[in-house]
Symmetry: C2
Subunit: 167 residues, 2 copies
């Protein structure tokens, strides 16, 4: 199961059990041509994937705004080029305004998922422009991040980590 | 200018002036076929518009989660059928979790925009199943909603109304 599917399932469970209202944002698409066949639904005939200007997920938990990006890697590190500058800027703005903000990283070969607080992501991001690594290594994430438990209903139970870190 | 464009411009201004981080969610699209031409970007060749399961806009303002839907009508009332049950359920959940939630309605022929708090929308929504009107009339919105001022930068300055109502 991909990280995205696991998170979507987890969010459904959080919603049904009335713990939080958190959704994945739709994939941003630039629509160019739409056909309107008679008696049937409009068909998009030409469209392109757009670079996301914000993150994948946001919502509300215990009255607080929560916002995060999710990334998966098969290797032993996550290239920072997988995250866009716009997304970092968005996360900085969220953090400034008092939101809860983080990155969920899964190392799929190890079947481990971590919550990396936005501040640590920002440090790693900024360091890459001053001779630092251009990726988040497993060791780094393991050291500065927090393991996210795998549960039956909450397959990536990130709110259990959020509870400890932010409340 | 459409309501959506006005709101997007307003949100950009709010973001640049560091007042709030509020974005429109991308239009939900069900992608069926994607072409991957050599040396150029992936092209979506068949896709369909999906019914939105949440609202158009969300984000953070003064540390609080904010979530709203925007609707425009040329007539003298807004049919409640323009809003989907899923969206109402989403708004109820947001409200329960302590978020700020409302509908922005523009009567374009009158060039007037109102903020209608979610609770009033819920009452009107529920009443339609018990013999009530199946639309939000201008008179109703004018009476229970709050006029949103038009300003040069903040073309639909809804945060000025949010300030009065929720803070
Ligand atoms: Mg992602
Ligand atoms: Mg709308």
């Amino acid at each position: 199961m991909t990280l995205e599917k696991d998170i979507n399932q987890t969010n459904e469970y959080y919603l049904e059990s009335n713990q939080a209202v958190i959704h994945k944002k739709p994939t941003p698409v630039q629509i160019v041509t739409v056909d309107y066949p008679k008696r049937s639904a409009a068909v998009i005939r030409e469209a392109y994937f757009k670079q996301p200007s914000t993150t994948d997920y946001n919502g509300i938990y215990k009255g607080k705004y929560i916002d995060f990006e999710a990334k998966e890697t098969k290797g032993s590190s996550l290239p920072l080029s997988n995250i866009h500058e716009h997304q970092i800027e968005h996360m900085r703005a969220v953090q400034e305004h008092g939101g809860i903000c983080f990155l969920l990283v899964r190392f799929s070969s190890k079947e481990e998922t971590f919550l990396l607080p936005a501040n640590d992501l920002f440090s790693a991001w900024d360091r890459q422009f001053h001779g630092g690594r251009k990726s988040l290594s497993y060791d780094h994430v393991n050291r500065f991040g927090h393991p996210v438990p795998f549960r039956f209903h909450a397959r990536v139970d990130y709110l259990s980590v959020v509870n400890k870190l932010y409340f």
